[in-house]
């Protein structure tokens, strides 16, 4: 599958502040890729570098096969970009805005535009400056989707929106998903968990991991082992066991490299006299917390920063 965008050792510095520290990420065509991380992790910076709003300090990024430093003008006929802090020509009514954009996009689909306006229940004759935050975000969607972009980039699109509006936007996005690739950033895991196909976790400018949601869910398990005897003092767990905690005869940890048969065999070998082994799948929230708190290198992906931060759930 082709990568819609790809970065190699992408670094962005603002003076002495490192906003992105050698990011390597690849987003396949057709994916719904969620980039998550705390506020200030570097999500918006990464998006702005991809959109050529910022220039990378070093490294390379390609978007739709084009060097991100050359993304401009006509390339945006294939890219839809919506950001929570993006300005809009607020003096315009929505009708004027759509009329205006229609002239900029050769592939503008008026029927789709009208469908979106109806679906979002948007008031065409109201000026943008008189719209609520949720309505403005709907208007941004309605003006970024009718030209059927090959890539939709959304920077914190649901931030501060009520659940109803958020669901409406997600519904529209999912309608578009079969014909496009969606890349969105969020600091809210719950809002992206339900519909993302891929996920990347950014912390302090470093990408801790980036993979398909199903593989992520499959390789993380919370394991609780009831032992016959308390654990020996000298026990050293494998690197892919995160957050090992032992209380009396109970050992708990998160296995970040879980494989059904192999892991069971490994557990049986390490704890031959275990009275019980409970293996539980984990929610995305639990996985992120485990990774964030582990504060060490993730074995199957990129390294984990020493300093960990709480992910807002």
């Amino acid at each position: 599958m082709n990568a819609v965008f790809r970065t190699q050792s992408l670094t962005k510095k603002f003076g002495r502040t490192v906003a992105l520290a050698g990011i390597d990420v690849e987003v396949p065509e057709g994916a719904i890729y969620a980039l998550v991380g705390a506020n200030g992790a570097g999500k918006t910076t990464l998006i702005k570098v991809l959109m050529n709003i910022f220039q990378p300090t070093s490294g390379l990024a390609t978007v739709l096969g084009i060097d991100s430093r050359h993304i401009a003008g006509r390339h945006f006929e294939r890219i839809g970009y919506v950001s929570e802090n993006q300005e809009m020509p607020e003096w315009m009514t929505l009708r004027q805005l759509l009329d205006y954009y229609r002239n900029l996009y050769p592939a503008w689909d008026t029927a789709l535009e009208q469908q979106l306006v109806r679906q979002f229940d948007l008031p065409l004759n109201r000026k943008l400056k008189h719209m609520s935050r949720g309505m403005k975000m709907k208007a941004a969607f309605a003006s970024s989707l009718p030209y059927r972009p090959a890539l939709i980039v959304l920077d914190e699109p649901f931030s501060g929106l009520d659940p109803l509006v958020r669901d409406e936007l997600i519904e529209v996005l999912l309608d578009r998903a079969p014909e496009t690739t969606i890349f969105l950033s969020s600091h809210d895991l719950a809002e992206i968990e339900a519909f993302s196909s891929h996920v990347g976790y950014l912390e302090n400018g470093r990408l801790l991991f980036s993979e398909e949601m199903t593989s992520l869910a499959a390789r993380f398990r919370e394991i609780t082992i009831t032992l016959a005897e308390p654990l020996a003092q000298q026990f050293s767990p494998p690197a892919h066991w995160l957050q090992c905690e032992s209380v009396d005869r109970v050992l708990r940890f998160v296995d970040s490299g879980y494989q059904e048969a192999a892991s069971r065999e490994e557990l049986a070998a390490v704890f031959p006299g275990a009275r019980d082994i409970a293996i539980q799948p984990m929610s995305l929230r639990a996985i992120f917390l485990a990774v964030a708190k582990a504060g060490r290198t993730q074995p199957t992906s990129t390294s984990v920063a020493a300093e960990t931060r709480e992910v807002q759930i």
Binding site: K48, M51, I53, F54, A72, G73, R74, H75, F76, E77, I79, Y81, S83, N85, Q86, E87, M88, P89, W91, M92, Q96, Y100, Y101, N103, L104, Y105, P106
Partner: protein
């Protein structure tokens, strides 16, 4: 290809329509001010030269003429606001603007802004000028090259610099601050340069054009950098360089290296039609006095001017002096500008002034020196002469302009001068002669003798257009002998002389024929003793 062009044009027009829809209040204000200029400016021609005569500030400030003058400031300000708002519609500074992630192609965006400026700045500007030219009695179509040149000046002096500053700022307030900062910086450097003592000074040959090109090219480059790449830091550096170049131009004489090229030594192709010699007139003597600049001495040398061929005007523009003493000391001055006296074929006694440092003066003052002066001269040749019987209404002087007899104070039905208008540019250098009378209504049986008067107007080497909002220039004409003292009531007072209807008024126009040099050597010259009077005091004595 055709589809691409159509898409491009569609985008240009869409941006243009969007800007026009949003900026209509600014557009209307700008157009209203220009309409006011069309209505009010011609009033000033009708009583040119007397417009400011009012003893009440309140009456003057609220008069249409004062508002007409104010429009010359308000219209550029309206353009300033309009252009700032236009550029800031698609702000080039920042990273949250809506348009930077939309399929704007920068050449098309720039084209849309140019289209807007053409429609709402240039087109009204040209229309206003054509209307005013027509109102002044000129044929606008005859002055199209001048109008286009004026538009170029407007571009370089107003439009591009304003747009460039707007392109590196995010809003009108910031732009205003930056513009004021740049103006204060340039003016401060220019003032500082004026205070510093300097020997070299030249007539403006290339410096104005260089400054204009620096401004034009600098502003255009900033705009292209910003529109093509949005590199605000680079644009700011360039803006600082342009401001530094313009501000520092006062510290050096950019024309000095070009003087030898523009004023070649006399030869067959550039023979001077003038002879300068040291004046033996007992009423005139050399004088040395302190110059306005610290540490500088100004020397005034009386010079006899003769040998000018008929139909020729000679204007000494600059002087270069060499001093040699018997003790083999030698001093060469750089080129220094002269007051631009104009000489016709009659012999004259004139004064040439040059400056030297005090230490140089002290070095040469005690002994006889060989003084050699090289004088740069502009030499003009008569190109037309019109003698017109003075009518009582507006009249045309072919090749010169439109003139009007100037009415007396308080509406007296007499003519006390002539006011003239020229189209787009200063008229050719023109020598105007008239005959004054004390009283045109005096009985015919004992007419008082007429007194001749003359005046110079125009320029020997005028550019194709003067920077102007109106394209109609008032050509100031100060005629000599226009008044006399009267003792009729034992109380000395000024009596204005009159130009009687039908008197012959002669306009002799000159065109630049050549630029060359004339030489003058004075052997055994002694530098005069230093007078205590300063240069300014000396000139007023």
């Amino acid at each position: 290809m055709k589809r691409g062009m159509n898409t491009g044009m569609k985008q240009v027009l869409a941006i243009f329509r969007k800007d026009a829809r949003h900026l209509w209040p600014e557009i209307c204000i700008s157009l209203a001010l220009q309409a006011a200029l069309v209505a009010l400016y011609p009033r000033q021609w009708r009583h040119a030269g007397l417009g400011a005569v009012s003893y009440s500030f309140g009456a003057f400030a609220t008069s249409p003429d004062a508002f007409g003058d104010l429009l010359n400031i308000l219209i550029p300000i309206s353009w300033w606001v309009l252009l700032a708002r236009l550029v800031h519609e698609e702000r080039l500074v920042g990273h949250t603007q809506f348009w930077i992630t939309r399929p704007y192609r920068w050449p098309l965006l720039l084209a849309a802004k140019l289209l807007f400026a053409s429609a709402f700045v240039y087109l009204p500007f040209l229309i206003v000028q054509c209307i005013l030219l027509h109102a002044a009695g000129f044929q606008p179509l005859a002055h199209v090259p001048g109008l286009l040149f004026n538009a170029l000046l407007l571009t370089g002096i107003v439009i591009l610099p304003l747009a460039a500053v707007a392109s590196v700022t995010s809003n009108l307030a910031r732009m205003t601050l930056v513009l004021l900062g740049v103006l204060v910086f340039v003016a401060g450097l220019a003032t500082l340069a004026g205070v510093l003592p300097r020997l070299a000074s030249s007539p403006s040959l290339v410096s104005s054009a260089i400054s204009f090109m620096v401004l034009l090219c600098g502003a255009a480059t900033i705009l292209v950098i910003q529109y093509a790449r949005r590199r605000a830091r680079t644009a700011w550096v360039l803006l600082a360089v342009v401001a530094l170049l313009l501000g520092s131009s006062g510290f050096y004489d950019a024309d000095q290296p070009f003087m030898n090229r523009f004023y070649p030594p006399a030869g067959a192709s550039a023979a001077p039609s003038v002879e300068f010699s040291y004046s033996e007139n007992p009423m005139m003597r050399p004088v040395a006095h302190g110059s306005g600049a610290r540490g500088m001495i100004e020397i005034a040398i009386p010079v006899h001017v003769a040998g000018i061929a008929p139909h020729t005007v000679v204007i000494p523009t600059a002087i270069k002096v060499t001093l040699d003493s018997e003790g083999s000391s030698h001093w060469d001055s750089p080129w220094q500008t002269l007051s631009t006296d104009k000489f016709l074929s009659a012999p004259y006694d004139a004064v040439f002034r040059f400056r030297m440092r005090r230490e140089t003066y002290e070095q040469f003052r005690n002994g006889p020196v060989s003084l050699h002066m090289t004088v740069a001269i502009d030499q003009g040749r008569t190109i037309r002469e019109n003698t017109i019987a003075l009518p009582d209404a507006r009249f045309e002087v072919p090749g010169f302009g439109m003139c009007t007899p100037q009415g007396g104070w308080d509406g007296e039905p007499v003519t006390i001068g002539i006011s003239c208008l020229s189209a787009v540019r200063q008229p050719d250098l023109t020598f105007v002669t008239v005959l004054w009378h004390d009283d045109c209504r005096a009985p015919n049986d004992a007419p008082p003798p007429a007194v001749s008067g003359y005046g110079w107007v125009g320029s020997l080497d005028a550019p194709a257009a003067e920077p102007s909002l109106t394209a109609v220039l008032q050509a100031p004409m100060a005629l000599t002998n226009s008044w006399r003292y009267s003792n009729r009531t034992d109380e000395q007072r000024i009596h204005m002389r009159e130009l009687c209807p039908g008197i012959p008024v002669t306009f002799t126009s000159y065109a630049l024929q050549t630029r060359t040099r004339a030489e003058l050597s004075i052997a055994g010259f002694r530098l005069p003793e230093l007078s205590k009077a300063t240069a300014a005091e000396y000139r007023t004595q």
